[in-house]
């Protein structure tokens, strides 16, 4: 690829320099990302425990699935892949990711369209929506836990005041509403991010297209679906995948807002719980490896199907 107009020696010199410029970063990433990932996968194939990290022995795929046939002819399946708690966590994660990203995209699109219009106080609105984004996740979890508190929470008070509910709801504690509570907080916190990404896409749409459509008297709804949406589709696809990846690995919000609730426990939460709290280090490592694999497959399929140009190289 070294086909610049400069002489070969200069380009070679630049490439050599580039190597040394990249080396420290690559080394750092190897140490903190690649190596720990490989070790995690390795641990998942052993019976290592938290207190004896080097005492583990190779047990193959038993943490994932082991099949034993007893003398009586009964077959016993063990491992993560037949663990109901794990599949519950998978289901929770997928449900959370799909629902939250759907609403964040929808609301983000609305907010972005509002911010793309010219009106007085636009700066104020943009400042306001940055606030949820700036607040640390743990802090927003606590803030909302307080607002959603069953006895003293303001949400119940408002809903009671409007007569929308007839008794106070234990939002975070009740299994029926715990997921809703997590979704509300996540949507509140991340819609701004989505809105800003979509807004950036919207601002790249040339204004004269709208002008032309207006002169031709095209219905605004039709303009949105026929002009705006197709033009911002690339930005939208990238925004959705970023959010999806973030949602699939969610940990902190669930851990703090609804501790120990089976209704919200996600893959990250259950992996860490097994790894650190329950002293099933290798078992937790197996679960986190599975999460990694799921995300990797998801990303590949998405990029392949959507032809998403993530690296931005194609535009140049």
């Amino acid at each position: 690829m070294a086909t610049s107009n400069d002489g070969p020696s200069l380009s070679q010199q630049r490439q050599r320099a580039a190597f040394w410029f990249l080396a420290p970063m690559l080394l750092a990433l190897l140490c903190v990302a690649a190596w720990p990932l490989l070790r995690t996968i390795w641990f998942s194939l052993t019976d290592t425990s938290l207190n004896n990290l080097y005492g583990g022995e190779w047990i193959g795929f038993d943490n994932y699935l082991s099949i034993r046939v007893l003398e009586s002819g009964r077959v016993i399946y063990r491992g993560t892949l037949v663990d109901a708690a794990w599949w519950n966590a998978v289901w929770n994660t997928v449900r959370f990711a799909v629902t939250s990203v759907f609403f964040e995209t929808l609301l983000g699109l609305i907010v972005a369209l509002v911010l793309n219009a010219e009106f007085k106080g636009r700066g104020l609105v943009r400042a306001a929506i940055l606030i949820p984004w700036a607040i640390p996740t743990i802090v927003s979890a606590k803030m909302w836990a307080w607002m959603l508190n069953d006895q003293f929470g303001i949400i119940n008070d408002i809903l009671l005041g409007f007569g929308l509910i007839d008794q106070k709801i234990a939002w975070t504690a009740s299994p029926d509403t715990a997921m809703t509570a997590v979704l509300i907080v996540d949507i509140w916190k991340t819609t701004p991010f989505m809105a800003l990404l979509i807004l950036a896409g919207l601002q790249m749409v040339p204004r004269d297209i709208y002008e032309a459509a207006r002169i031709d008297g095209v219905n605004p709804v039709k303009v949105f679906f026929r002009i705006t949406l197709p033009l911002i589709r690339p930005a939208l696809m990238v925004a959705v995948i970023f959010r999806m990846l973030d949602a699939l690995r969610i940990f902190d919000l669930v851990y703090v807002l609804t501790p120990n609730s089976a209704a919200t426990k996600t893959m990250s939460v259950i992996s860490r719980e097994n790894m650190i709290d329950f002293d099933k280090f290798a078992y937790g490592a197996a679960q986190s490896t599975l999460l990694f694999a799921i995300i990797a497959v998801f990303v590949s399929v998405y990029i392949w199907l959507g032809r998403v140009d993530l690296s931005g190289e194609g535009q140049r």
């Binding site: 990433l29 140490c31 640390p136 802090v139 003293f152 701004p192 950036a200």
Partner: protein, 277 residues
């Protein structure tokens, strides 16, 4: 037609009002709560009745929370400086030098920044133990590199691509080496980008929870999110909402101010990391 227009703009401003109220209210309510103590806390209030600084005194007067703030500042600053230091040269190479596998390398860096952090937790735990830095700030500084470094490289690369080629060509003609080009020519132009990227990475490190929770074991080494997440009262049942809200406000106000001051730059940085990618 004019009435229709009027209704339209009323509806529009109603929507704007809903967006603003929905965004700001939880933070506002946390501030209101942080000023009430005792039984006052357990009456729902929409406006602050009085300004009682009791919660702030109990949070800041305690031994552990101020310590957590210092821990967080130290950890986040060190992580960001380290990441920026490595990222400037790396992003120059990625943005400005053509070489084979550049696209692949960029994709890999992006992949690392999208990593589920839980997938490296077991391996990092071992590494932290091995290096003997468990329960010390260095455990966090090392592990946060996994998301601050790819992020800063990624955003700085997009910023550097946009710098005009002519400047660099002029420097090359003058016989400047790549190192001189970075330090003398690009760095002065990149200051705004560095501030933005650093700020975003700082916020990421400041907010991190999973690693900080796993790699600390005593109250004095906790970072702010862990301290707030695990803040508990005298008994298990009694959650100290007043102090929690005061602590939340203390750590959030500086962030909110920073974000509002650097609004435009942050939006530019965020979208550079996302859309233009």
């Amino acid at each position: 037609m004019t009435t229709r227009k009027l209704i339209g703009s009323i509806a529009f401003y109603a929507l704007v009002a809903v967006i603003v109220v929905f965004s700001v209210f939880p933070f506002y309510y946390a501030i209101v709560t942080s000023f009430s103590t005792g039984t006052d806390l357990f009456r729902v209030r929409y406006w602050p009745k009085s300004f009682d600084f009791g919660n702030y005194e109990s949070v800041l007067g305690g031994r552990n929370f101020p310590r957590s703030i210092l821990n967080s500042i130290f950890i986040a600053t060190t992580t960001v400086v380290f990441a920026l230091f490595l990222a400037v040269t790396a992003s120059y190479a990625l943005a400005r030098v053509r070489f084979r596998a550049r696209g692949l390398l960029l994709l890999m860096i992006l992949a690392v920044s999208m990593f589920p952090q839980i997938a490296v937790l077991a391996g990092l735990f071992e590494l932290v133990r091995f290096l003997g830095i468990f329960n010390s700030p260095w455990a966090m500084i090392m592990s946060y590199t996994i998301f601050t470094l790819p992020f800063t490289v990624w955003v700085l690369t997009t910023f550097m691509r946009d710098l005009p080629v002519e400047i660099e060509e002029a420097a090359i003609v003058d016989g400047a080496s790549p190192w001189v080009i970075i330090t003398r020519v690009f760095l002065p132009l990149l200051w705004p980008a560095l501030v933005t990227t650093g700020l975003l990475a700082f916020i990421g490190a400041w907010n991190e929870f999973l690693f900080a929770l796993t790699f600390t074991s005593s109250e004095t080494t906790r970072t702010v999110p862990v301290a707030i997440g695990l803040l508990s009262g005298a008994s298990q049942q009694e959650i100290p909402w007043g102090p929690i809200m005061a602590a939340s406000v203390i750590v959030t106000v500086p962030l909110v101010i920073l974000v509002l001051v650097f609004q435009r730059k942050i939006v530019a940085g965020l979208t550079a990391g996302g859309v233009k990618g």
